[in-house]
Symmetry: C2
Amino acid sequence: MKASMIPDIVVGRLPVYLRALQQMAQENRQVTSSQELGERLGISAAQIRKDLSQFGEFGKQGTGYQIQYLLEQIREILKVDRVWEIAVVGAGDIGSAVARYGGFANRGFTVRMIFDNNAAIIGKRVGNFVVQDTAGMIPVIQNSGIKIAMIAVPANEAQEVADQLVQAGIKAILNYAPLSLNLPAHVHVQYIDPVIHLQRMTYYLE
Amino acid sequence: MKASMIPDIVVGRLPVYLRALQQMAQENRQVTSSQELGERLGISAAQIRKDLSQFGEFGKQGTGYQIQYLLEQIREILKVDRVWEIAVVGAGDIGSAVARYGGFANRGFTVRMIFDNNAAIIGKRVGNFVVQDTAGMIPVIQNSGIKIAMIAVPANEAQEVADQLVQAGIKAILNYAPLSLNLPAHVHVQYIDPVIHLQRMTYYLE
């Protein structure tokens, strides 16, 4: 099946499968099944088999999936069989936490630089980085060839930062600011806003 | 339509509509339309009308939606017309950033307490809170009546923390640890893992 034909909702489950497979590999497991994966993830085994079958034949009837093989295949499909560099914009609490986060290693990403527009923060260290001035961000990102950015600035600054990132050649944005961004169709965006997740749960609470 | 009949994917879009409406209200806007909302959010107007119609009649043909009225209705539907208290477990970078986060105000949530199991951190201040010992967490949460928790501990500690939170009466968990939790059916869970979002985008990059 052509990549463009596969629904985004299916693509969105592959990283969850990959995370579970990497965890199993760390537990020195060799083989798993759609049943076991499904129990770990709260997804039906049939759904997992159907999702994976859209990308190829990864297991044999009755013998399950070779964990190492399947995780390498998914890493290749998701293009995280390499390391993508990330620019972080905003060196407040959230930007700093992301810049110092140890959880990117072995999952395809590394933070490479961090920017802020606050004179009191520019030049200070955050983890392994010296905070750079957002004012000079566009050429720095262009020259670096970085294609992925995270926005961790206040909501009222986020759209302007996003516009600058697009100018700088960024193709994918993970936005921590609590608003929807207006972006050209060729730029991918994902959102992290804890309140959105919390409100989705309170609906169901007494 | 009965609450239990509405698909979770529809429920999951209401917080996004609410966030956009609150932003419009801050801009002193009075009226909006499904077209305008759709353009802001990158969702079709038809989808927005269909989603909202599952919960009631909120607008009149040709006159659009009264912003203040619609946002109050959605706040009531999502049960964020009140303030929910939150317990944060893990006072590392992410837990501390969440505990200090100013973005919960006016959106239905407030952090009330934070826990950690690291003796070097217990008793220290994080924002307005003194970090409490995770070892005493269960009765403290039980006595508080708090129903919502965030987990921001290392992946290998997260399941044990989740089990303790369930014992403490927690009904909804926002999990920042990068793994899927095994929880009883009556406990709601949502996940925040930046790598999952990033991998969903690299799939589409050259």
